[in-house]
């Protein structure tokens, strides 16, 4: 069961701009096991979305390049595959759901057309069969009256329903890995809960692994088995969800969890993290969190800390943590 399906090693994706190099993803390593949900959490600009796009090899135009590292999908480094081979991989072996369903669906094609197109990538089949499979795909994502929905267009559906359709398209090719980049951020809370439950059920049924990108620790607690916390282009802590919530080791993770307003317990002043993340164009040589860290000492500014094993499957990049 602990078979690794996706192994990311020392990934570097930088933006090469006229005014300098933005090191948005700068040495990211993690692995994803078959049937596991790994959360990738962090604040805006920490590089979590760009990590996802690097895995899909769908980097934004304008100077972004993956310059170093390996992305091993079932042991094969997909960074070395040709663009044509990559098109075969996307959708069938690794797939993605984005935050805003509106941008993933084409407004001028019906839901049925878009589903049939996705299914055609899995296998060549006559149209009636594809239509039948589209109905099934919609039923799996719990859309009522799927036969009627096939003829409809995206604007005729609510946000929650569109996101389900996007999900249906993403998993149509039966990928081994699904990357979900903030898929519920645009949804209302009750609809978010429905969607997360659905995603979890589909994951259990299909055994696909999910890389779940979010900034919301509530979503992490609900969905993930393990979580990786990103800060300024690197993963600073990674471990089982329970451990990260109950005994976070990295000062950044600790401060981040403490600053979330809670639904229970005393209402006092919220813990804050003073200052701002470092510029990705001018990263410090030492720990990237040092300038905001209440526990920082001279060596934190001098060199980037090594990755310390702080518990079972639990690592943190910090000079101050105690090895297990």
């Amino acid at each position: 069961m602990s078979e690794t399906v996706l192994d990311v090693r020392d990934l570097h994706t930088h933006f090469f701009l006229r005014r300098g190099v933005v090191k948005a993803v700068d040495g990211v390593s993690f692995s994803l096991r078959r049937g596991e949900v790994l959360g990738l959490v962090g604040e805006s600009g920490c590089g979590k979305s760009l990590t996802a796009l690097s895995l899909m090899r769908l980097l934004p135009k304008g100077g972004a390049r993956t310059i170093k590292g390996e992305v091993l999908l079932d042991g094969e480094n997909i960074l070395e595959r040709s663009p044509a081979a990559m098109r075969e991989i996307r959708g069938r072996r690794i797939s993605m759901v984005l935050q805003d369903p509106q941008t993933s669906l084409n407004p001028v094609f019906s839901i049925g057309d878009q589903l049939r197109e996705a299914l055609l990538r899995r296998h060549r089949a006559p149209r009636p069969q594809l239509t039948q499979e589209s109905v099934e795909a919609l039923r799996r994502v719990e859309i009522a009256a799927p036969e009627q929905r096939l003829g409809q267009y995206p604007h005729q559906m609510s946000g929650g329903m569109k996101q389900r359709v996007v999900g249906a398209i993403a998993i149509a090719g039966q990928p081994a890995v699904l990357i979900a980049d903030e898929p519920t951020t645009a949804l209302d809370v009750t609809i978010q809960l429905q969607y997360l439950k659905l995603l979890k059920r589909l994951q259990v049924e299909t055994g696909m692994a999910i890389l779940f990108i979010t900034h919301d620790f509530g979503v992490v607690g609900r969905m993930c088995d393990r979580v990786a916390v990103m800060y300024a282009g690197r993963i600073v802590e990674c471990g089982p969800v329970r451990r990260i919530f109950e005994a976070p080791q990295h000062p950044y993770t600790r401060a981040l969890i403490a600053s979330v307003p809670k639904m229970t317990g005393p209402i006092g002043r919220l813990t804050t993290i003073e200052g701002q993340p470092p510029s990705l164009m001018d990263l410090p040589v030492g720990c990237r969190f040092a300038s905001r860290c209440v526990q920082a000492e001279p060596r934190c500014l001098e060199a980037y800390p090594r990755t310390v094993q702080v518990g079972r499957e639990h690592t943190a990049d910090c000079w101050k943590v105690v090895p297990a």
């Binding site: 209302d188 809370v189 609809i191 919301d216 307003p261």
Partner: protein, 323 residues
């Protein structure tokens, strides 16, 4: 108890849905806000929660005098605000300010932020140049920025700092009430906490009241003294925040609470998952608007509209289960 700063009485807002340009036909009315009443006391925070389309933004827009109510009235310090014009309207706008979710929308990208903050003071001929400059410095310090940042443009600030600038601009005219429409939901977690602390500090210093429009219950719990829960244009439950969080009554509020994903794994309480989606406000369900999705619905829920009834001190619920 002090007299309310703002009273909202039986407020309704119906938008006509029309078709055609020349020969316009009315297809129906969207009852965005339907019989909503509440009070905000000076120096207190009222949280207005609900999902998209519940009418919370329309309610706040009517309070900001950006939208004319179809029925009902709004009183600030006992004076109705409808029909305010000229000088009286300017006075009202100085007393009731707003901060929106996206600070970009409130800041002019070509204007130095000092000038944006001073705008309200200049328009109201608040004082001479030196006096206004001094007030801008004071405001920047109050929101945790440096006075010399008055000379910078919005793009030179981070998202959290821009929201601070928007807050400084709102505070300039010393308002009695600030409508905060999702003030922290666009901000990062660590910055969000800074902003929430700042808002509470300013309230403690200046005694300004807040109408906090938000969807995040934990934010409301930390900020609001009183909470109003809306569903499809109606208030379904309202209570002092402490009382609401101690005991949630209305099935919809319960569903909202159980949809909150706790940042504590394994702490998920008894869950009510709502089936389906919010019905169209164009054709809302008759009687109790929640009965189509309510797990406790009874026959009478589809027939008789449940009135908002007080179940304990200050805690009112619109549900037949509490009769």
């Amino acid at each position: 108890m002090n007299a309310p700063l703002l009273r909202v009485e039986n407020l309704r807002k119906h938008f006509a849905l029309t078709k055609g340009v020349l020969f316009t036909r009315t297809l129906g009315h969207i009852k965005a806000v339907d019989d909503v009443s509440f009070e905000i006391r000076a120096g207190e925070t009222l949280g207005l929660v609900g999902e998209s389309g519940c009418g919370k933004t329309t309610t706040s827009r009517m309070i900001l005098n950006l939208e004319e109510p179809t029925e009902g009235r709004i009183l600030l310090e006992g004076e109705p605000i409808s029909g305010l014009q000229g000088e009286a309207l300017a006075v009202y706008r100085a007393k009731v300010q707003a901060v929106f979710q996206d600070p970009w929308s409130s800041l002019n990208p070509r204007m130095k932020v000092g000038r944006t903050i001073a705008e309200a003071l200049i328009v109201n001929r608040w004082g001479d140049r030196a006096k206004i400059a001094a007030r801008v410095r004071e405001l920047l310090l109050q929101v945790g920025l440096r006075p010399e940042q008055a000379e910078q443009y919005p793009h030179e600030f981070s998202g959290g700092q821009r929201q601070r600038v928007a807050l400084a601009a709102a505070l300039a005219s010393r308002p009695r009430l600030i409508v905060l429409d999702e003030p922290v939901s666009a901000l990062d977690v660590s910055i969000r906490a800074q902003m929430m602390n700042l808002l509470k500090d300013i309230q403690a210093e200046d005694g300004v009241a807040y109408l906090l429009v938000a969807h995040d219950l934990a934010t409301v719990r930390h900020m609001a003294d009183y909470t109003v829960v809306m569903y499809l244009g109606r208030i379904v439950e309202q209570a002092p925040t402490a009382s609401l969080f101690a005991e949630v009554r209305h099935p919809y509020t319960k569903a909202l609470f159980s949809a909150v994903l706790m940042a504590e794994p394994g702490r998920q309480a008894d869950e009510i998952e709502l089936r389906g989606e919010v019905p169209s406000p164009l054709d809302p369900p008759a009687a109790c608007r929640f009965h189509t999705r309510c797990p406790y619905a009874m026959p009478q829920c589809a027939e008789v509209e449940p009135p908002l009834r007080e179940v304990s001190r200050g805690h009112a619920v619109a549900c037949h289960l509490f009769e």
